[in-house]
């Protein structure tokens, strides 16, 4: 019983620490920086930019590969140009 009470108390304390301490310590990377409206907008814009860029880049390559695969699958297309060296 004592053990369970201690465990519950510890869990409660840990939960309270997690909820309150980051704000106290300004543990969030942008807590101390984004004090003005322009800074907040910049953080939001760059977060969107950094999130979308890899998705767009990888998505673009995948789409390009898909289109290329379809094109190469057509019997009329001869892909030799992409494989062989060209003698000039």
């Amino acid at each position: 019983m004592t053990y369970r009470f201690a465990a519950n108390a510890l869990a409660g304390f840990a939960a309270a620490l997690i909820v309150t301490s980051p704000a106290l310590a300004e543990a969030c990377a942008v807590c101390g920086a984004a004090r003005s409206e322009a800074s907040r907008d910049a953080f939001i814009a760059t977060t969107v930019f950094m999130t979308l860029l890899p998705l767009l880049a990888i998505g673009g390559v995948v789409l390009w590969l898909r289109r290329r695969a379809r094109r190469l699958a057509e019997p009329s297309v001869a892909p030799a140009e992409d494989r062989a060296s060209v003698r000039i």
């Binding site: 322009a38 910049a42 062989a84 060209v86 003698r87």
Partner: protein, 196 residues
């Protein structure tokens, strides 16, 4: 089918599948992607530093040469267009694409040299790596781009040399193209973000 000592064997036809893209090109695409993320991080950091500053640009620092760099930007874009043209000619008559490839490289070299002269002028006016946040970011971002431009020019020069000697694989040209197009497409973004 059976052979002495081997029992039954199955003869499998050789695979007819071709790689969608050459390994070198795919490797360069992955490299370019990582570099794009590096520049995205730098641009983001610059954007936040700029938005957080009370006065921008710093009042005691020289102004960046917007008009001169716009001309330089056009030269770089033209270089990319010439490389695109060189690729189209390469498909039909490879030997005839050498001149266009050379002009593309010359315009790229002009861009790099012009940037170097611009740096010298800015350093003389007092904009250094440690003089301000603007100077630090400017030399870091633009310098990194120039480093990529020099490396891509080296690859293009290697491709041009192979072309002149009579052997240039399409995949090598495509690899150099991917690198150079990255340099060309990235620059207007940097120009709009850093200079304006």
């Amino acid at each position: 089918m059976s052979m002495p000592g081997y029992g039954r064997m199955r003869v499998v036809a050789a695979s007819q599948r071709q790689p969608l893209v050459a390994n070198a090109v795919m490797g360069m695409l992955i490299f370019v992607f990582t570099e794009a993320m590096l520049f995205a991080g730098l641009i983001s950091a610059f954007t936040i530093a700029r938005a957080s500053a009370l006065i921008w640009p710093p009042p005691d620092q020289p102004r960046l040469p917007v008009e001169e760099t716009a001309v330089n930007t056009l030269a770089l874009l033209l270089s990319g267009a010439l490389l695109f043209g060189a690729r189209r000619i390469f498909r039909r008559a490879p030997a005839r694409s050498a001149r266009l490839l050379l002009f593309s490289m010359l315009l790229g070299a002009f861009f790099v040299v012009f940037q170097g002269m611009e740096w010298l002028a800015l350093i003389r006016q007092g904009l250094t790596l440690t003089s301000s946040v603007l100077g630090g970011f400017f030399y870091l971002i633009v310098g990194l781009h120039d480093l990529h431009a020099v490396a891509a020019l080296g690859l293009l020069a290697y491709a041009w040399q192979r072309l002149r000697r009579g052997w240039l694989s399409s995949s090598l040209l495509a690899t150099a193209e991917v690198f150079w197009y990255f340099v060309v497409v990235l620059w207007p973004v940097l120009y709009l973000r850093v200079y304006l």
